[in-house]
């Protein structure tokens, strides 16, 4: 939202678009950057919390007996439901997350919390709390949930048909060829390096001060207030910076802040809750595992003619963000391909597992796995190279998505595809690889190119708003507040760049303030890749308001029209009269003396976003981000182990606000996606429902060894996006899905162990074991085929 602005000389782009280091990089490397739990040793009298966990996936809580624990050394108190002055529920979407449950609904769920003088004491006492449980039947798989009709939502659906078809079945029937498939897509642990943490105390004014590692301080504030039975104004939440979040702290930071707040309320002392890694992994939700079932209609040239797909997500025990996640999966089941006829149905399953939640891509990646799987099947069935089938189905200029939104700039997809195919020497390498594979019976290489098209905006329209508060002091120094949180994505860096250009000052003139709810109220989560789009506009809006006021002051001072005033490099001067320049500080001082207000709030809301859930049509996205990747892998046929030889990426982030930051997002997103699709496997014990991979020793995120040996990343040049801050595009999530090329490359290598197998099924995540079995399967089917011929 731009306010009525007076004509002016547009600010120069001096900082925006420059490759600069992360705004806190110096603090990161010296250990000076503080995270929520680093505040603890700097504060006196802190109590430490540890959960009393119920070790059943589903059970009724008969009793909780803390009497022995209360006698143990260092124990201050044990928090139970009786201590809650307000509402004992931390559910954000729906009140379905009791803090102190009567019924345990996932293995390890906390039923009470011990507060003690030290963490080891709290932990030991928690082990001494006796919890009596009556086990109930647990639903631990999607299939079981479907069979038992255990769902969080009704069926969501999107249907698009060409005129001649009355139903998807007709479109399928009309297709020359058809096939069916099913794919299980694994979940993913966020494994933000900084686990969940909160520190809460009552400050000198009696206010509840919440330090939380949260992506959504407003919601944390709201839920803490609800638990304590207070109005929002009695609670302030600060998110200083996060050691990674990736969606895992979008709603799932609320519970820990609430426990700490409750403890502080009850004891009057600062209370710290930090989950050690094992607790973090056992208690917090992850990327949703999905089951996709599909039937596709196509022709001999590999054109996708019809798609009927059902997506089931494993939502875990509470609703959380599962519904918008499912929606995004349904919106992105096209990835970058035109779906002429499609029926997309989706359902969130309710299971006795942790409550699955937001994670970079927010369902989009899971939807895309399904279409990439389908396209590979079409390629194998038609005998066409997968890249040919993919290219033939790419969206073109003028195409419309299955939910009715025109694909703006769809042509960029083909442009990126061709440029990348060229720069990565796809054709030449195909030949090289064929030669290598012919010479190596036990080792095969594979290559694949995949696209990404990702819609930007919160699909819940009202979240698409943001605020900022800029304070200019009379000495010319500036404090910058905005509603976004910093989790490593470089948002603060970009906001400083935007503000510095808007005010024509150095970055050092501006101090980025910690994100707090008492500076900017009613903020949205920093999520959906929208952080810089939304907050950037709000920051600029606030800065421009101040600039306009200073223009008037300076105009009077220099005796010129306000619109002729230039702000540059910390100087203010009339256009063409730089030698008369005064410092930005001097003008600020002048403005103060003239009683001009030197602070301004900024605000922005994304225009024209809507979606009709029942009709399944609308314009849920402001625009799309595009990219493509080529990955080459090498697979050992004896073990299924593999390595990533080379990756080429071309990604569209519009006119990059901050190229070093954006490059980092692209590379980091890719490797994180690679982890999800290949190494990272969540295993729940099928009997108890316990998460078996509950630590770094059992859950393997990518290490240096997964960083492609040859990693070539380029940002699409001249990619200005109109209507977005400085022509940039969101970059947090989209690159994650570039990693789909790695899984498809593995499939390509697997296929090379047989002669043009008609089907290559590959589990997801494609762990070495999964690849091994896929290799065995193509070898066996080749043998069967040979035997049949004899």
């Amino acid at each position: 939202m731009t306010r009525s602005s007076r004509p002016m000389i547009p600010p120069k782009k001096k900082h925006v678009g420059r490759a600069i280091s992360h705004e806190s990089a110096r603090e990161h490397v010296t250990g000076g950057a503080l995270y929520t739990d680093d505040i603890t040793p700097r504060m006196a009298n802190v109590l430490h919390a540890w959960p009393v966990q119920a070790m059943e996936a589903h059970a009724r809580v008969r009793s909780v007996d803390a009497s022995a624990a209360l006698e143990m050394p260092g124990v201050a108190t044990v928090l139970t439901g009786e201590d809650v002055p307000g509402v004992g529920d931390v559910g954000a979407a729906r009140q379905d997350e009791p803090l102190f449950p009567d019924e345990v609904v996932f293995h390890g769920q906390p039923v009470a919390w011990v507060l003690a003088e030290s963490e080891p004491e709290a932990r030991r006492a928690a082990a001494a709390v006796k919890v009596e449980l009556e086990p109930l039947e647990a639903i631990l798989t999607v299939e079981d949930a479907i069979a038992k009709e255990s769902f969080h939502t009704k069926e969501l659906r999107i249907v698009r048909l060409e005129e001649e078809h009355g139903a998807i079945e007709d479109a399928l029937k009309a297709s020359p060829r058809r096939l069916r498939g099913e794919v299980h897509v694994g979940g993913q642990e966020h494994f933000y390096l900084e686990s969940q943490a909160a520190l809460v105390y009552l400050d000198e004014s009696g206010q509840v001060m919440v330090h939380s590692s949260t992506q959504h301080p407003t919601e944390t504030q709201l839920i803490v207030a609800r638990v304590l039975g207070l109005d929002s104004h009695a609670v302030t939440c600060q998110s200083l910076r996060m050691g990674g979040a990736f969606g895992g702290k979008e709603v799932q930071a609320n519970a820990w802040a609430s426990v700490a707040a409750l403890g502080a309320w009850k004891t009057g002392r600062p209370v710290r809750v930090r989950l050690d890694r094992q607790r973090d992994m056992t208690l917090t939700g992850k990327r949703h595992p999905f089951l996709g079932r599909f039937e596709v209609g196509f022709d001999d040239e590999g054109h996708l003619l019809a798609l009927d797909v059902e997506l089931f997500s494993d939502g875990g025990w509470s609703l959380d963000l599962s519904k918008p996640v499912l929606f995004r999966a349904m919106f992105h089941v096209d990835n970058g391909y035109l779906l002429r006829n499609a029926r997309v149905r989706g359902r969130v399953c309710k299971t006795h597992k942790v409550s699955q939640t937001a994670f970079r891509g927010f369902g989009g990646p899971q939807g895309m796995v399904v279409i990439e799987d389908a396209l590979d099947r079409i390629a194998r069935a038609t005998g066409l190279p997968p890249e040919v089938v993919r290219a033939r189905n790419l969206y073109r200029e003028g195409d419309v998505a299955h939910y009715g939104q025109p694909i703006k700039d769809a042509g960029r997809l083909g442009e990126i595809w061709e440029t990348l195919a060229e720069s990565s020497e796809l054709a030449r390498r195909r030949e090289e690889i064929a030669a290598f594979n012919a010479a190596h019976p036990h080792t095969k290489r594979g290559l694949a190119i995949t696209p990404v098209k990702f819609g930007i905006s919160f699909t819940t329209a009202f979240f698409n708003q943001a605020g900022a508060l800029v304070l200019l002091y009379a000495d010319g120094s500036v404090q910058l507040n905005h509603g976004g949180t910093e989790m490593g994505q470089g948002l603060h860096t970009k906001m400083l760049q935007v503000a510095a250009d808007a005010l024509g000052v150095d970055l050092e003139t501006i101090r980025m303030m910690p994100t707090r709810t008492d500076k900017v109220p009613n903020t949205s989560a920093t999520a959906a890749s929208s952080g810089s789009d939304l907050n950037g506009q709000a920051v600029r809006d606030a800065c421009m308001a101040i600039r306009e006021r200073l223009m008037v002051v300076a105009g009077t001072l220099f005796g010129c029209a306000p619109e002729d005033i230039v702000f540059e490099d910390g100087e203010v001067f009339p256009a063409g009269r730089r030698d008369e320049a005064k410092s930005f500080g001097a003008i600020a001082k002048q403005a103060y003396l003239q009683r001009v207000p030197l602070f301004a709030a900024g605000y922005y809301r994304t225009p024209n976003i809507h979606y009709d859930e029942d009709a399944g049509v609308g314009k849920p996205f402001h625009y799309y981000a595009y990219g493509a990747a080529v990955t080459e892998v090498e697979v050992d046929g004896f073990t299924g182990q593999y390595g990533f030889r080379r990756v080429d990426i071309l990604h569209d982030c519009g006119d990059s606000l901050s190229p070093l930051v954006d490059l980092g997002q692209v590379e980091g997103g890719f490797v994180q996606g690679l982890g999800w699709l290949t190494r990272e496997e969540l295993v729940w014990d099928p009997e108890s429902g316990r998460l078996a991979t509950n630590g770094a020793s059992t859950y393997k995120l990518p290490s240096l060894g997964e960083c492609p040996a040859d990693f070539r990343v380029a940002l699409l040049p001249k990619a200005r996006e109109e209507g977005v801050i400085h022509g940039s595009k969101a970059v947090g999530e989209p690159p994650f899905m570039l990693a789909l090329s790695a899984r498809e490359a593995l499939r390509d290598a697997v296929a090379a162990f047989a002669d043009a197998p008609p089907l290559v099924e590959l589990a997801c995540p494609s762990t070495p074991e999964a690849v091994f079995w896929a290799v065995e399967a193509v070898k066996a089917s080749a043998q069967d085929a040979a035997a049949a011929e004899e």
Binding site: H22, H28, L193, Q641, R679, S697, V713
Partner: protein, 468 residues
């Protein structure tokens, strides 16, 4: 006893520290929060700090370790550096810090101090040629944000170390291991420096838990809240820290950190050269010992299959004296060994001649720093192309590390070729009954047993040789 050590050049004194408290928490509780906790089990490296230590070449060096796996009293008498102490002035950066800033090596910054410590140690590593790139230097640090490329670039472009106070420090001897005797919170801690003192301590505290590198024991403490009435550290016992080579054998002290074994034996025992890069990370190997790995007797420990393939023996010692036995006989059951009460593992003896072909294979989800799903060590002694002796050691397929003796016999006396392997394969199929767990299915593990022997053949012969 007061725990005394040097931290970032300043003397530190601490009283009343429960010996279970890991160094990481000790540091953080004192406000040194640059050192981070990401996992508390040695996997992420966010807690990395540097100790000043004497290397196997006798020279002083900076050795990066996981502070989450070091018991605080074990640093008594030592000299440590943390991320807060590297720069020369509050507004200055150390070259590795500056490079991390410039290259975009930090995003959320939480892993960064750990990487900085690993890079710092590598920067000054004696003998590192400028331009030499050792990915192992940061293999024990995880980053969830960057995808590693910028950090790898920092490593690649480290350049020659500048002459500064840190370089100067390396010119002087490292502190000698000091004995320690410490009590707090009803827990006794001893750190003897001789075998005699160790046995005295054991006589005094017969139930004490022995801790060598602590990379298994402290994981138990952190992850499962294991508590002991007494702890005895082995890492300073002189008689356990040696290695020697004679005409008959190579003998390795049980208390030598694996990184030192690796360095000392480099190029001499091929199967071990293959093992180390696949064994945990440099950070862990700077503390972990062979003694710990063998006595832990995990079925998925990596040194047992490798040592089984070398036909190694173990040397056990107690107050009463020494005895030796074949490594295969040392493992008596799931996580059980032939150690008698009061007895410790002193050394591992690798007889000569070494096998003509030695290979170590590790099947795991991740290449660097992962625990084995299945591991295999293969040793073949050949004379004129004929296998005179075969040792096939496996891990991850049974309750203990095991030899595949039937298949070994099927290879012996035959030429090393495809026909011989084909005869041995059926003896490997179904030889063991592994379990399904989160690392892999029983079927996969079972399949790997013969597949790895096939791989050995493919890796050590040309197709023409194999067919002969």
């Amino acid at each position: 006893m007061t725990i005394r050590f040097r931290l970032n050049g300043e003397p530190i004194e601490a009283e009343g520290v429960d010996p279970h408290v890991p160094l990481l928490h000790f540091l953080r509780d004192r406000g040194l929060t640059g050192t981070k906790e990401g996992c508390a089990e040695g996997e992420c490296g966010a807690c990395a700090v540097v100790v000043v230590r004497r290397g196997p070449d006798g020279k002083t060096r900076f050795s990066p370790i996981n502070s989450c796996l070091v018991l605080t009293p074990a640093v008594h008498g030592q000299e440590l550096w943390t991320v807060e102490g590297l720069a020369d002035a509050p507004d200055a950066l150390h070259p590795v810090q500056a490079a991390m800033v410039e290259k975009g090596g930090s995003q959320c910054g939480y892993c960064t101090p750990g990487f900085v410590m690993s890079l710092f140690a590598e920067y000054y590593r004696p003998g590192r040629a400028p331009g030499e790139v050792d990915p192992e230097a940061i293999s024990g640090n995880l980053c969830r944000c960057t995808g590693y490329r910028p950090i790898r670039d920092v490593l690649v472009e480290l350049g020659a170390p500048r002459k500064d106070r840190h370089a100067e420090r390396l010119g002087a001897p490292a502190p000698a291991p000091e004995p320690a005797a410490h009590e707090a919170g009803g827990v006794a801690f001893r750190r003897p420096t001789t075998l005699a003192a160790l046995f005295e301590a054991l006589a005094e505290l017969p139930e004490a838990k022995l801790v060598a590198g602590g990379t298994d024991v402290v994981v138990e403490i952190n992850q499962r809240d294991a508590r002991f009435d007494a702890l005895i550290a082995l890492d300073a016992v002189e008689e356990l820290r040696f290695h020697e080579e004679t005409d008959d054998a190579i003998t390795l002290g049980a208390g030598v950190p694996l990184a030192e074994v690796e360095e000392a034996l480099h190029g001499r025992v091929p199967v071990l050269d293959e093992l180390w890069p696949l064994f945990s990370s440099r950070l862990i190997r700077n503390r972990a010992t062979l003694g710990g790995n063998l006595v832990n007797a995990s079925p998925i420990g990596d040194s047992p299959p490798a040592l089984l393939s070398l036909d190694a023996e173990v040397v056990l010692v107690s107050a009463k004296g020494e005895r030796s036995l074949p490594l295969a006989d040392f493992f008596t059951g799931y996580r059980q060994t032939a150690l008698a009460p009061g007895e410790i593992l002193k050394a591992v003896r690798i007889p000569k001649p070494l096998p003509s072909i030695g290979r170590f294979y590790k099947v795991s989800k991740r290449v660097l720093d992962d625990i084995s799903t299945v591991a295999a060590g293969f040793g073949l002694w050949l004379a004129d192309g004929v296998v005179t002796k075969a040792r096939l050691g496996y891990g991850g397929v049974a309750a203990t590390p095991v030899r595949a003796t039937a298949a070994e016999q099927a290879l012996e006396g035959k030429p090393w070729n495809a026909a011989t392997v084909a005869q041995a394969l059926p003896l490997l199929e179904g030889a063991f009954t592994p379990l399904t767990d989160h690392r892999g299915s029983a079927a996969y593990r079972r399949a790997m047993v013969p597949k790895l022997l096939e791989k050995l053949l493919a890796d050590t012969t040309t197709p023409a040789e194999a067919a002969e």
